[in-house]
């Protein structure tokens, strides 16, 4: 069970975008320089966030990505699931109905206990992440952080 490395990139990138002035945007190249990560791959992942409705993208000069919603409405869960997918890590394939020990179908009307417990654990994980928004994350930073972030990010803009 391992999350893609790009998960960290996108969590930080969205947190960075949340510190921009309303209406401002940053390009994939800018963010890649800001964190020293592969630009093309980062762009590919940012597109996933666009599809998930977390970000919006504008093409052309001065374009880039920005938050599609207020930071307070974007949870860490939305971001993580946009990158990694919404499927649960444990997938019940009903092996209790296979092989010599196969149970009768009528005995399997209720969900397998093991699958249920694994699903509960996954839900606990989801709830934990759903309880934290980007606004919460920004709130923990020093008051001077957003201004510095904007300044340093602007220095990565070409020309």
């Amino acid at each position: 069970m391992k999350l893609p490395v790009s998960t960290e990139w996108l969590l930080h990138c969205t947190a960075t975008l949340a510190q921009l002035e309303p209406g401002a945007s940053a390009s994939a190249a800018q963010l890649a320089l800001y964190y020293d990560v592969p630009a093309a791959y980062l762009a590919k992942q940012l597109q996933e966030l666009v599809k998930a409705g977390v970000l919006t993208a504008t093409t052309g000069p001065r374009g880039g990505f920005r938050l599609a919603r207020p930071a307070s409405e974007i949870t860490l869960l939305r971001i993580v699931e946009a990158v990694d997918g919404t499927s649960a890590p444990y997938e019940c394939r009903e092996i209790r109905q296979q092989g010599r020990g196969a149970l009768a179908p009528e005995e399997c009307r209720s969900i397998c206990v093991l699958a249920e417990k694994m699903a509960e654990a996954h839900e606990a994980w989801r709830s934990s992440l759903a309880g934290v928004s980007l606004a919460d994350v920004i709130a923990t930073l020093p008051a001077t952080a957003p201004a510095r972030t904007r300044s340093r990010l602007a220095s990565t803009r070409p020309s």
Copy 2:
């Protein structure tokens, strides 16, 4: 973020072993037939559980695997982590200290907020699984289940 398919196999296999009489054991080949899964691969994974101290193995005829501890002391977390490893799915690589936006080391004395929240979510997941033991799982089964499991499992023994 995806758990190996063998996770389901081993959860069911350990639950099956928990239904055996004290001292009895089942071989990898038996369990493979019982659930209709690849025997060699299942054996490989069962070895991981032995290394993790969840099971003990005895070689030779009438040998096989059995629980190394009482079922009440074996949590689902132990089993899952024995199969998949104990490392957290989110690995913080401190990208906040890289690139143009790199923070000063003295600003990074405390853990990154994002890494902290991801770790909390993982801990919620672990706690959920740590709260369920094999004994709890067995307790939810009908009272007639263990006897039937033993009977069907015995039918997979060779000769």
